[in-house]
């Protein structure tokens, strides 16, 4: 613990061994890549699970080795991995780690050692999660929401061991996230370079910053819920367990409250939606601004919208519980607060559109993904307005309408931004450009495929097709056409799945064969593109930290020599402070 990292005086220790540089590295860039690779690897597992689910739903009976309990296990693991182990880890642990120090002009996170621990503990949580696939009884099949009593009662798949590994893994993940999150927040607060005021930070940093604060306040509820459920399961406590009949016998439990779990879970669960959305909001703002060569419209408004969304998202959680039997007045309150969030969110959408308005739009791949995000996000946001109202939600609850909604808004939207962001920053991270043609194919298949998958789901939901069902069977209210739609969705899902290999192939190909990228191929103004080396080295800034003179959005400034002015370029009349 010496002086702050922003200080130029602190001598840095540059590791000399291979292990110190690449394995137990304390360099935020290496940690970021470790986080990203791990998150994407486990994300692939979730993707494969989704294909298995689609195979079963599209072609019921064709795959006899997918039994009902397997289906439930796929649903649960798919949901949990996607939300927590992929998106949260990739956006905060991956992008947060890589971007924060570079964008604010720091040499590293304030506490690199704890930052490193954060990754290794995260890896442990992933390993425990994966262990769930191999324990007797398999992983939990309780749904990603893990509602008790069913999650830990006999008869639910994985109620023997799978639920234990899941809960333990979540608790470990939260410890890992806390170590990382403390670093991200403190670094933004205390270690910015000279001239980098909060109101000059790129929106990417703002999104990650607020999301990290939210994570530090939301994950505690999940942590407590996990510990209590573990005690219920392992020590026979009755926190969440009422007296009930299970498999024809009265259980030993009595007097617990299952609703309490739902409150704890969603006190985490709803902010979690924004923990993955806010970094995506921030990143997409920067992508749009850079590739439309225009300053972001209403920067201050954008910042405040992020802050307000972050705050409001802590008082809307029970909109996930309209059908739980809670007090109806709660429904009134939570429906109102939910709809209020639409205001700052709509402000953001308008500002993105106004940034594009009359911009010098370059339809490069990162920009395409950013535009695709606008489509899916607006789309998912609109169906969210339906579900936010109690009377509309009650009939739609637990149908495929909900599945379509949340995949649009928090599944696909952040994923599209992540793709855009990887295409955008890869030249800085690896120093090489991608194959543009392959990237275009990847984009179009993914974007159109996403619509082919999720648009019909809304229709299925309105018909009343329930979610988390292994097969529809003979049901009078579900017409034959629903089965056809299910087949079409499944085929689209398989095509989208296959298209992702173009992405991975392109990534690996360009790592070795891609054309060399200059230090700033997109002509971006923010600080991370102004590093002395590409890829940046340990310590990021060479001998001297940069000084910032302006915000990150000086594009197409009249009379300027270039169509962008880097953040560290002084004003002609100013001298250094």
């Amino acid at each position: 613990m010496a002086t702050t990292i922003a200080d130029d005086l602190t001598p840095m220790h540059h590791p000399r061994t291979w292990v110190g540089k690449y394995v137990w590295s304390q360099d935020h860039k290496v940690i970021a890549i470790q986080y990203s690779v791990t998150a994407i690897a486990i994300g692939l597992v979730a993707l494969v699970l989704s294909v298995l689910m689609r195979l079963q739903l599209g072609f019921p009976g064709v795959f006899p080795w997918i039994q009902p309990e397997n289906y439930l296990q796929y649903v649960s693991m798919h949901g949990m991995i996607m939300v927590v182990y992929l998106l949260t880890a990739l956006l905060l642990g991956g992008f947060g780690n890589y971007m924060i120090p570079l964008m604010i002009g720091a040499r590293d996170m304030v506490f690199p050692f704890v930052n490193m621990l954060s990754y290794w503990v995260y890896l442990l949580s992933v390993l425990v999660l994966v262990a769930g696939f191999f324990v007797p009884g398999g992983p939990t099949g309780a749904g990603w929401t893990l509602y008790p009593p069913q999650a830990i009662s006999e008869g639910t798949p994985g109620s023997q061991w799978g639920i234990v590994t899941m809960l333990v893994s979540l608790a470990i993940f939260i410890v890992a996230f806390t170590m990382g999150g403390l670093n991200y927040v403190t670094t933004v607060l205390q270690a910015r370079t000279r001239g980098m005021t909060l109101m000059r930070m790129p929106l990417t940093v703002w999104g990650i910053f607020i999301a990290s604060i939210m994570g530090l306040l939301a994950f505690p509820a999940l942590f407590v819920a996990a510990i209590m459920m573990l005690l219920d399961h392992v020590a026979g406590a009755s926190f969440f367990m009422p007296s009930m009949m299970s498999m024809g016998q009265a259980t030993d439990t009595l007097g617990g409250s299952p609703i309490l779990f739902q409150h704890l879970f969603w006190f985490f669960g709803h902010p979690e939606v924004y923990i993955v959305a806010l970094p995506a909001f921030g990143i997409v703002s920067d992508l749009i601004s850079v590739h439309a060569r225009k300053n972001i419209f209403g920067y201050r408004m954008m910042v405040w919208a992020i802050v307000i969304i972050g705050g409001l998202s802590f008082i809307v959680w029970a909109h996930h519980m309209y059908v739980s039997g809670m007090n109806p007045y709660f429904g009134f309150f939570f429906a109102t607060s939910t709809l209020i969030i639409a205001i700052p969110t709509a402000i953001k959408v308008y500002n993105w559109l106004l940034t594009l308005w009359r911009g010098d739009i370059h339809l490069r791949v990162p920009m395409l993904f950013a535009l695709a995000f606008l489509f899916t996000f607006i789309h998912g946001g609109l169906s969210g307005l339906f579900l936010g109202n109690v009377s509309v939600d009650v009939p739609l609850s637990d149908t495929f309408f909900v599945v379509g909604h949340f995949h649009m808004v928090m599944g696909v939207s952040p994923i599209l931004v992540i793709f855009g962001a990887i295409y955008h920053w890869y030249p800085k991270i690896a120093g090489r450009m991608w194959n543009q043609a392959l990237a275009q194919v990847h984009f179009w298949v993914t974007f159109l495929g996403v619509y082919a998958i999720y648009l019909p789901m809304h229709y299925l939901g309105v018909l009343g097709v329930p979610r988390r069902y292994y097969a529809l069977g003979e049901t009078s209210f579900i017409p034959e056409s629903a089965h056809l739609a299910n087949q079409a969705i499944s085929i689209a899902a398989i095509v989208v799945f296959a298209a992702q290999f173009l992405f991975f192939y392109n990534m690996i190909w360009s790592l070795f064969r891609g054309p060399k990228a200059g230090p700033n191929p997109w002509g971006a103004a923010s600080l991370e593109w102004q590093t002395p080396d590409t890829p940046p080295r340990h310590g990021n800034w060479g001998a001297k930290l940069p000084t910032v003179y302006r915000w990150a959005y000086d594009y197409s400034v009249p009379h300027a020599p270039r169509d962008f002015i880097p953040q560290d370029e002084p004003h002609p009349k100013d001298t250094a402070p």
Binding site: T178, L182, M228, L231
Partner: protein, 230 residues
Amino acid sequence: MSQVTKERNETEENAQGWRAIVADWSTDREVFRHTHWGKAMMWIFLLSDTFIFSSFLISYMTMRASATMAWPDTAEVFALTIGGQSIPLILIAIMTFVLISSSGTMALAVNYGYRRNRKVTAALMFATALLGAAFVGMQAFEWTKLIEEGVRPWSNPMGAPQFGASFFMITGFHGLHVTCGVIMLLIVATLVLRGHYDRAGDYSAVEIAGLYWHFVDLVWVFIFAFFYLW
């Protein structure tokens, strides 16, 4: 010069009211001026930890409110018979007293740390750690007593089974915090004694350890109020 940036800078300088507050807060480099980052980080961690303890306590309260069996009378359960007389809550009173006193010794340690008084700082920190260890010891005694009386996480001869479960869970989690605190205090105190912070020219670690320690005490006050006095 860019017109836009120039105007922005000017509005920032002439800002008033709310805008001035925002402008102050968002000045360059450090939001909390002259504050060691470690201290800022500890504060943020404590905020997060507050949410953990709040979740525990609020869960316990709703559980207690909705339990189907009678909640045991804590004054009786936590009474000790000393000299043939049953004194309610006596052990908890002593434990609380010990922990609060340890906050006093800790505050003194921080004060001597600022004055660069190596020996006294270290001595006070060791004293704090000792008081903390005493607290954990008494807690172990209390656990043993309850377990001997038949209280388990899954059952409770005195009434609602949630009583035992939440007691072990909440005091256990707090006790774990105290234990970690004792270990941290011992490490920092040893470093103080060895002159590590004199060489680094920075005693912040003492203060940071102190922050954590005061927090753990404060949490205890809430547990004491909500679990034992209610």
